[in-house]
Symmetry: C2
Subunit: 454 residues, 2 copies
């Protein structure tokens, strides 16, 4: 996939050269000759990656990187620093500034393009979710996401290596900031790794007792492990094409041996941070969806969800030529509970009735609270006989076991009406019959089930 790349360098000749190389590979290129200009562009436009020269007058690349990563509008854009120097201190400074990687001049094609492709692919993957979730997240989750994005320590790291000694070496470094598990040899049961909460997978690319590239592929091919960041450990010079392949398969970053303690920690923090950021986006989106569809008091679906669900269920019943029944239940004399013991006690009873309802239904039934003390259940594939059985079971689980109310155990009952789908029913007519049946159940003395046939 192609991408839009911002190249930042104070030397026009460097800019032109890099532009030509990138355009030959069909990337779209924007140029900036200073850090200030680069920041301006990132705030204004969609940029997929920044290639950033470190040595610039006024504001150097580290500072530009720091500012980009501190700005909520830009922090998701990957930054690759380009420098003439390849000493470890500069590398760490760059990573600490939030850079996603480091390339040393002269920049060769293989590392350049494999890095760009890998970083932009990851960005584009999360863009959709980010644009949807970020606004909501910032308000609904308050500053939680910001806070979370600040810290890349305290993660859970799974190290997969060839020998216990190597595992111990890496673990000793990583343990200072994370919880570390070491796995020696082939990961037979990947699911186990997925189930335990893991924030980062560190894989030895030089392992021989298993195929590390195959492991990268396995992690990326399973839905459960797909979002897990992968950091591979490789050897300078020897592993260049294997590194490129690992990045192509979906590894997020690599580190070269001999492993520098500070570099490993910095790269691990970057990945753990990103993982947490992505997770907080996902959580926020999930929460938003729940807020829109779930009744906060009881955890059942809300009225809005019920209405759409009923429409869809009727359509499906028609297509599949199956039955469908609808049940409406109302707690008898609920007002007396609320008035007598207060709302808190009333709410407790509602929650309890909801829980009993949920427990007494089939997996395919959907229970909703549609208002005050009124509940409905949509029952696909249930004719009047099956629905009557479910309704009666529901009436009993409420009536048979008293509720703890104001320190006493007090009996509560519900009245239930239900209806079954007929040929020319609409949502409204089906609901209306169930409602009439409920009314009838109330009129007949409550704590009973009534069917309203067509």
């Amino acid at each position: 996939m192609t991408a839009k790349i911002l190249v930042v360098d104070d030397q026009p000749i460097n800019l032109r050269l890099m532009q030509a190389r990138l355009r030959d590979e069909y990337f779209e290129v924007i140029l900036a000759t200073s850090g200030a200009e680069a920041i301006e562009i990132c705030r204004r436009e969609t940029v997929d990656l920044v290639l950033l020269d470190v040595m610039m007058p006024e504001m150097d690349g580290y500072e530009v990187c720091r500012r980009l990563k501190a700005d909520p509008a830009c922090r998701h854009i990957p930054v690759v620093l380009i420098t003439a120097l390849d000493d470890m201190r500069n590398r760490i400074t760059g990573l600490e500034a939030g850079a996603d990687d480091f390339l040393t001049k002269p920049v060769r094609d293989l590392p350049l393009f494999s890095r760009i492709r890998s970083l932009t692919r990851l960005k584009i993957l999360s863009d959709e979710m980010r644009t949807r979730a970020e606004t909501t997240m910032r308000v609904l989750a308050g500053n939680e996401a910001d806070a979370v994005a600040e810290s890349g320590t305290g993660g859970s790291v799974l190290v997969v290596v060839d020998s216990p000694a190597e595992g111990e070496r890496l673990s000793r470094i990583l343990r200072s900031e994370h919880t570390v598990r070491v796995h020696v040899g082939p990961v037979a049961d990947l699911e186990a790794a997925a189930i335990e909460p893991t924030d980062l997978l560190a894989i030895d690319l030089q392992a021989e007792s298993f195929d590390p590239l195959r492991l990268c592929s396995l992690v990326r091919s399973n839905e459960a492990t797909r979002p897990l960041p992968i950091l591979v450990l490789a050897s300078d010079g020897r592993d260049e094409t294997r590194i490129a392949k690992a990045l192509e398969l979906g590894a997020n970053d690599y580190i070269l041996r001999p492993v520098d303690r500070n570099e490993l920690l910095a790269r691990a923090r970057t990945q753990v941070k990103r993982r947490r950021y992505d997770e907080s986006l996902r959580r926020s989106l999930q929460q938003t969806i729940e807020l829109a569809t779930v009744d906060a008091l009881t955890g059942l679906s809300n009225r809005r969800f019920f209405e759409s669900h009923l429409t869809a269920s009727i359509a499906r019943a028609r297509t599949d030529a199956k039955d469908l029944s609808l049940l409406i239940a109302d707690i008898d004399h609920f007002k007396q509970i609320n008035d007598g013991w207060g709302h808190a006690v009333g709410d407790g009873v509602l929650r309890d009735v909801a829980a009993r309802t949920r427990d007494s239904l089939r997996a395919c039934d959907l229970a909703c609270r549609i208002g005050g003390e009124e509940f409905v259940v949509v029952m696909p594939d249930a004719d009047s006989e099956a629905a009557a059985a479910i309704a009666e079971r529901l009436r009993r689980v409420v009536a048979d076991q008293p509720f703890p109310i104001g320190g006493e155990m007090i009996s509560v009952t519900i009245s239930v009406g239900f209806s079954t789908l007929i040929a020319d029913d609409t949502d409204a007519t089906l609901t209306k019959r169930a409602d009439q049946a409920l009314y009838e159940a109330k009129r007949l003395g409550r704590n009973r089930v009534v069917l309203r046939a067509a």
Copy 2:
């Protein structure tokens, strides 16, 4: 990026051969020897792509494809049919069955891997959104999405070619099912294409007056056009590596010249369908987010949004060392309107007040309806003087212009209280002071603005 691929063939030897080729490229492979088994696997597991032999006993590949595409649980999985025959009729049958592409035996590496990479990349891109949105969508949007996914006609197609004659040739075919615009030569202003609602971009890969690969790259690099499907027109034999490059850059499909009418229509329909499906996912997610945060009656933000927004705004004001003011407005004697003219009229007044409020605020202010006839406005960067001016403007736009109530024009007023952030404020204390100020405004005779200093 790697992916999990299901290979379906009744010949074990074919299965083994394909498995070896795919595993060499680090794809994860699952095998099935019949259509029934394949469908079972797709329903149960996460599959990223199906490579499906057409000639199988019992259920042939077309039927398997049809069933997969008819099943909401599987229809998003790309299907590539593999056949010994390459005549046009089979091709069309496959496309009509919903196949995403066709490969002819013997299947060569370049078309195989470029197709797999392109299709799985597109799938993985939309997976995240799909898994979030699909459940909600199915219920909240009812069967709209299903209906939409059924039809791939009536789309808006933009054809980009070298010559008017070629444009007319393609347009004549596509016009029978879509609205077609033809663009001859370089697309200088891509934004125009993005702004007009387009469902499909058909690009001539043999064009010489512009670089078609560059155009693919441009479309994919701009956020606005990124989701647009691209179909490239190429020449058999001559363009193989260019086709692979186009797919790599993000083209969704290709068709070979001489263009067969039915094949072009079938491929266009497939892309338009997918585009609509993706759009309906996006819309549904957007709606869900709105449902969770917007007050349905007035379109202002709701109480839940207000509460999180206030927390976030206070934190931001502290970080930036800026002012923040909070205003609470309440419609005077609203109960008389509701009781006298009914709820419908009351709702009309609420909507009208909300609209006037929105119009009288600065862009950075956020107005919310937090209950019955009560509104709040969060005003970042506003000290007590600025907030007083905004509050007074708001009071006036309500009081100065009477409301249409029951056929008459009747004057309505609001009382407004506001407070300004001080050092040790919490959400609760800031809100409480604004509330006390509102109470004071009511007590002093209504239709006025009161500040409650700390």
